[in-house]
């Protein structure tokens, strides 16, 4: 969360920024800012913050409902689980991997919760069982990725189907909905004396913990290192495999928690709970400025992206825009998030130094690569 810690994590903008202070004092502030936008050296988080402000203004102008506490509660409560799942996803993507099975782990946990409750287990035992299930699911992902050495994209597409399939087997076409109101109240009641939904409160606590781990501990720095260069991280003595496995386990556990919250919020356990939201989670993380190649991004950016995502959906809902079609806006923002950092790089494309630098970098990476086409 500390800005000075983040700058080291984003080598792209950082290398572009040294000229900015030099031109800064000479230029009138407005033009200098614009220029640094063009150069891509303005922090993505700043842009996101402006976006959030714009969404709030848009919402407040177009709907009198938008800035009410009831609406704040509704917006928060409906996006709480996605927000929670975005936190471990941030760490996984920064470490250079991906986890597409998150929504299926949510569904599987929800199904297990429903089945065990209908078998009259005590709630505490159910929580333990669901947590163990989440940990095991994450461990399977992690071991297949790190120990067998499989690409995480393929592994988690496989477990996406597998875990959703387990949810189907557990619950079938049944629906369990007779949960005690003590638990299901989290969907309708805020924390006492506030307007904050329970799942958002949990998100805030987890965001602080994940933020500290990512930005202020050695483990967090090692996650950036292995995302930037797995080999260099390994040679630097970082236990890449162990840390990545841990990240998947944490992701599994957090998604199991999200599954419990989702089930209680809707007071329904069905096998298709959270179907397809893995792409929403990935979209939020990428929108938050995290690079899909790993090694770059901040948790603050992801938190801002969560707010932007929820605010946008809510504002469009209140303005009677076809809510399903908010995907157009989300998709467009995603494209901006991936093109914006490249604007600066494309400008530098003409510099021969850049071209040479890139060539030598890939040259160093290639000795392992076989001569293409020689065998075929």
């Amino acid at each position: 969360m500390e800005p000075d810690l983040n700058t080291g994590a984003a080598p792209g903008p950082a290398t572009g920024s040294p000229p900015a202070p030099a031109t800064g004092p000479a230029d009138p502030d407005g033009a200098g800012w614009l220029r640094s936008v063009a150069r891509g050296s303005v922090r993505w988080e700043t842009g996101l913050f402006l976006l959030v402000v714009a969404i709030v203004i848009f919402g407040a102008v177009t709907s009198s409902e938008f800035l009410t506490s009831g609406n704040f509660f509704n917006t928060g409560v409906t996006s709480g689980e996605i927000a929670i799942m975005a936190l471990p996803m941030t760490l996984i993507i920064i470490s250079g991997e991906i986890d597409l099975s998150v929504a299926s782990i949510l569904g599987m946990s929800s199904a297990l919760l429903g089945v065990l409750w209908s078998h009259h287990w005590p709630m505490l035992a159910i929580f333990v069982a669901v947590a163990v299930l989440g940990i095991v699911a994450g461990l399977i992902n992690g071991l297949l990725v790190t120990r067998v050495g499989l690409p995480s994209l393929a592994v988690t597409i496989g477990t996406l189907a597998l875990y959703r399939g387990v949810a189907l087997i557990l619950l079938g076409a049944n629906t369990v909905s007779n949960f005690p109101s003590t638990y299901t109240n989290i969907g309708v009641l805020p924390l006492p004396h506030t307007q904050i939904p329970y799942n958002i409160a949990i998100f805030v606590v987890l965001a602080v913990i994940f933020g500290i781990v990512l930005h202020a501990t050695a483990t967090g720095r090692s996650i950036y290192a292995m995302g930037a260069s797995p080999e260099a991280a390994l040679f630097a003595g970082i236990r890449v495999k162990r840390v990545k496995t841990m990240l998947y386990v944490v992701s599994g556990l957090v998604c199991a928690l999200a599954g419990v919250l989702w089930t209680f919020r809707l007071s329904t356990a069905v096998q298709n709970n959270g179907l397809g939201i893995e792409l929403d989670v990935v979209a939020i993380v990428l929108l938050g400025g995290v690079s899909i190649f790993g090694g770059k991004g901040t948790l603050a950016g992801v938190v801002l992206a969560v707010i932007a995502f929820a605010g946008l959906q809510n504002a469009l809902l209140l303005t009677n825009f076809n809510q399903e079609a908010t995907g157009i806006v989300i998709g467009a923002l995603l494209l901006v998030s991936v093109f914006a950092p490249n604007v600066g790089r494309l400008r530098q494309l003409s510099l021969p130094r850049w071209a040479r630098g890139r060539g030598s970098r890939s040259g160093r990476g290639s000795p392992q690569a076989p001569a293409v086409g020689s065998g075929t």
Binding site: L100, P151, G158, A283, I292, N322, G375
Partner: protein
């Protein structure tokens, strides 16, 4: 897209000695024949338990169910082989299905080939948009096609707006496309098999097809070797989009009720089929035939569960498990092969 350094699938060492080349060829043959063997064993076991699995009606049903997936798998193979991924195919299929089939309602009597051309056109435009952004913008295809997955589905929802195309508006000649048979084999399945054959031949034997593999093996080396990387990747995405567009029209003919959810989630199923069929997710190896057999295997499992009286509920878990098994076995084999190659030609390995 992430751990690219350790995921080399092309085991061919730099100077291909006679021994290592023969070994490589054998493994390439195994790649294909492995999945075909699995399919045959699976069909044999299922038939021995329940002979009605191989009756004509069930086989026709199975082939028709596979066509859309196999077609999509061809386009996805072209993209994946070049170390990219196209997540937008499900949305393209949905948009194309609704708009093209909707033509029958808006313009009664419109010729069916024109409807297919409309579907193709929609797909090509979407594919070109993907290809332009990936090739010119040099941004990761995973992110670009994730974004277009949302955008194209959003456009679809805006166009559909709660309506749906129903079977009544579709002419019989159109809805009969998946049903027409010759000697008991659906015409459509034959047509798709020919298309996949042409696609596989293009990838295997044409210069531009081979170059897609080269790009997937090592994009930087391909660029240095003078391959027009951007152009090839653009072509791959355009073809994938066009194929998804045509698949959308076929989907409409098959299901006949089209709303804004058509094709949702197909992208991951198709990628599963492609990977089960032996196409490496990080590019450089695999074939269109393998991918099509992968699609056929997945729908055979679906059909077999039905015939054997298994609860349909097991399908998803089994297909997920199968995908994991396929990539794990592939990994083990390629690691073994790497060791074997290194022993044969000391000094070549890393």
């Amino acid at each position: 897209m992430t751990t690219t350094v350790t995921e080399r699938r092309e085991p061919a060492g730099a100077p291909p000695g006679g021994g290592s080349r023969r070994l490589t060829e054998r493994v390439f043959r195994v790649r294909e024949s492995g999945i075909i063997a699995v399919l045959l064993v699976f069909v044999a076991v299922t038939t021995s338990i329940q002979p009605s699995f191989l009756n004509q009606q069930n086989l026709q049903f199975l082939l028709i169910n596979t066509t859309v997936y196999a077609l999509l798998a061809l386009g996805e193979t072209m993209v994946v082989v070049s170390r990219n991924v196209d997540l937008s195919i499900g949305s393209v299929l949905g948009l194309s299905a609704y708009v093209s089939a909707g033509m029958f309602g808006h313009h009664p009597g419109i010729p069916i080939p024109l409807v297919f051309l409309i579907g193709l056109g929609i797909g090509l435009v979407c594919g070109m948009a993907n290809g332009l952004m990936v090739a010119v913008g040099r941004v990761p295809s995973l992110v670009v096609t994730l974004a277009t997955l949302y955008i194209i589905r959003g456009i679809d929802i805006l166009i559909v707006g709660g309506n749906q195309v129903t079977a009544q508006t579709l002419p019989n000649a159109f809805t009969n496309i998946p049903r027409a048979t010759v000697f008991g084999i659906p015409y459509l399945a034959i047509a798709i098999a020919v298309v996949i054959g042409v696609g596989a031949y293009y990838l295997r034997s044409f210069r531009s097809g081979r170059e897609l593999y080269a790009i997937g093996s090592n994009p930087e080396a391909a660029r240095l070797a003078g391959i027009p990387v951007g152009k090839r990747i653009f072509t791959a995405f355009t073809l994938s989009g066009g194929i998804a567009g045509v698949a959308g029209v076929l989907w409409a003919a098959q299901y006949q009720t089209i709303d804004s959810t058509a094709g949702t989630g197909y992208e991951l199923t198709v990628i599963s089929a492609v990977v089960v069929g032996g196409v490496a997710i990080f590019g450089g190896s695999g074939s269109a035939v393998g991918a099509a057999v992968g699609a056929l295997l997945l729908s055979s499992i679906n059909s077999a569960l039905n015939v054997l009286g298994f609860p349909q509920l097991w399908l998803e878990a089994i297909s997920g498990f199968l995908l994991l098994l396929a990539i794990t076995l592939d990994r083990i084999i390629s690691v073994r092969l790497m060791i074997a190659l290194r022993r044969r030609s000391p000094g070549v390995g890393t």
